[in-house]
Symmetry: C2
Subunit: 368 residues, 2 copies
């Protein structure tokens, strides 16, 4: 077995176990404390500009009939993650579930883990308790998203070091991995800003036109909703002081993508500003575009009920309602019941999408 | 404007237009002939081992009230594709739809294309009529799938030549593009076989264990159902005489992935053996595995109704019913109502999945 690098996650897991052993030695019931992840403990942190958890705690102890099973399950998950770190091997949360099922299933009267729904929330509990990400526990998450631009990374993986030059990926681009922190460093970031494009089809269009080269940006498509890895990569590029500009349809899905990148999401509030980029700005599509680009008026499509409902919901969030241009934008969609897809910019000619972006960048026509 | 390479697709589109002009010159009604793509004209070609279209034709002419609109729409789609080829620029079928809507919307009394549902089938008609793929018409399709292995490609794209070494892609792998034919060549294929793994999570596991390096295979995950590009890449690797082995769950979704790779699908029957790999073999998961790997018995999960229904459906297809081992396999699932996920192989230890594959490869334990 190859010796794993010393990782903070391993130390944290060891401490967690040591504390429990201490409690047992003192004839106390071992306990596990984490942050309460329910909606009642999610708040918008105005100072940072993202969603995060409040101060409420959740405690489970072994000598409590209602908590004993969940306590044991939590310890089992922690022990497995420690093992994965020791082995320097990664798996998915599904792989973790099967390891738990395999090793615990026959030793206990009742199956400790019958369904994965039981192990998933415990991973989030651990992340929140240890203040780290599941990626730090060698758990892979869904990968999605593609990158091109003047950005070079070093990928230390499986005992090898690979240099990834995002300017030399041809038509494909570099696929954003699950973990962009552990064993993954920026070698150089020569690009000056980041453009996040909702749809892969538009990314391919802009990549073919060498938009990222001409405008010196990192061109990213999350391919719809951004994966954890993609959100984390955007955060890391923002840490390098690169402005982040987001380009989506003006509909329920597009807004969701933008606000998740910017403020994080309710579900991942426990990760706070590790995966949020409050500095992000929204370039389009907007209802104002209909005034500035007349041809778009014949290319709008009817907003669906879900779009209108979502716009109303967003207006009720204080961190959105505080931005007047967003209030106007959302009200305009609700009133007109029309939406515009980013694909529509290809109407007059395929390369127009780049011109649209250039013009709006030059005039700094962003929503906050 | 950059001069485009001479492409057969351009010539075919020109001929299509020239024939119509000829007809008009002769005072005949211009017509468009394609292969009928409805189910009634899909057949299984036993000699090749894949689904393809039969001999039935579909003809639409201009001077026919019922066909005039569709005829004009078809010509409009063909003209746009010719333009994209002339401009040497690609777009998606959504981009094509907006180009049609933009340039035709105001010139006609009635909108020629109100919804994309109207333009999509016409693209397929064109593909079938011209005997080429939409990728040859500069139309991008959804990209999905990731590759690692001793395989080097040359990507000629946007006026640049990029060498892609699939052995040097770190944790990410090389993302399979929409078009693996035009401007895309194999430089070297040192791998000896192809392993197609349904789930990305398993691909990541095998990639971390350097399975593709140790076993000298091209490791591909389609990430679920294989995209057109991914199916085409597998076909091209099979053309290089590399055996293709497919590894999925034994359930409705897994079988669908396998049979689509092997025989093609009803929907894409018009592409015939361009995207089918009849040589493909199935390595698992199988019900036999429960006898060979005892631990799997406690890791099975209940088959869903859709799995059982799908197994019954597959038994009714002659090209599946002709394989006795498949009949036994499907009947066993129907009877036991159990299924096994490929993830379950990580139960005893994370690296077991590689050992399972090695053992079955050595013993040639495949389903046809």
């Amino acid at each position: 077995m190859k010796m794993a690098e010393e990782k903070p996650a391993r130390k944290k897991l060891e401490n967690l176990g040591a504390e429990m052993l201490d409690e047992i030695a003192k004839d106390e019931s071992p306990h596990f404390e984490t942050m309460l992840r329910s909606k009642s403990n999610v708040l918008y942190d105005e100072a940072i500009g993202c969603l995060r958890l409040g101060d409420k705690k959740e405690i489970r102890t072994f000598v409590n009939v209602a908590q004993a099973k969940k306590f044991m399950q939590t310890v089992a998950v922690a022990a497995k993650c420690k093992k994965f770190l020791d082995e320097d091997a990664h798996t998915s949360i599904r792989g973790l579930f099967y390891q738990l099922k395999y090793s615990l299933g026959e030793e206990m009267d009742e199956e400790l883990f019958a369904e994965q729904e039981e192990s998933n929330p415990l991973i989030e509990d651990l992340e929140a308790a240890l203040k780290l990400k599941r990626e730090d526990l060698n758990l892979n998450t869904d990968r999605k998203g593609v990158v091109a631009g003047s950005l070079v990374l070093l990928d230390k993986f499986g005992g090898e070091r690979t240099e990834i030059d995002c300017a030399k990926q041809g038509r494909s681009g570099w696929m954003v991995p699950s973990d962009v922190d552990n064993g993954m460093d920026f070698i150089s970031v020569d690009a000056e800003w980041v453009l996040v494009v909702e749809k892969d089809a538009l990314w391919q269009r802009l990549n073919e036109d060498k938009f990222w080269k001409k405008e010196n940006c990192v061109l990213i498509t999350p391919k719809g909703q951004a994966s954890r890895g993609c959100r984390r990569l955007i955060r890391k590029l923002a840490n390098k002081k690169l402005p982040v500009i987001v380009f989506t349809d003006n509909d329920a899905w597009g807004w969701y993508i933008y606000w998740t990148i910017k403020t994080g999401s309710m579900n991942l509030a426990y990760l706070g500003n590790d995966v949020a980029t409050p500095e992000a700005r929204f370039i389009g599509m907007t209802m104002q575009d209909l005034k500035d680009y007349d041809f778009l008026n014949k290319l709008t499509i009817k907003a669906k009920d879900v779009d209108v409902k979502r716009a109303e919901e967003l207006l009720s969030y204080p961190w959105i309602a505080m931005h007047k241009p967003w209030v106007a934008e959302l009200k305009s969609v609700i009133k007109s019941k029309r939406k515009i897809e980013q694909d529509a910019l290809q109407g007059p000619r395929l390369s127009f999408v780049g011109d649209y972006l250039r013009e709006k960048m030059a005039k700094k026509k962003f929503l906050p």
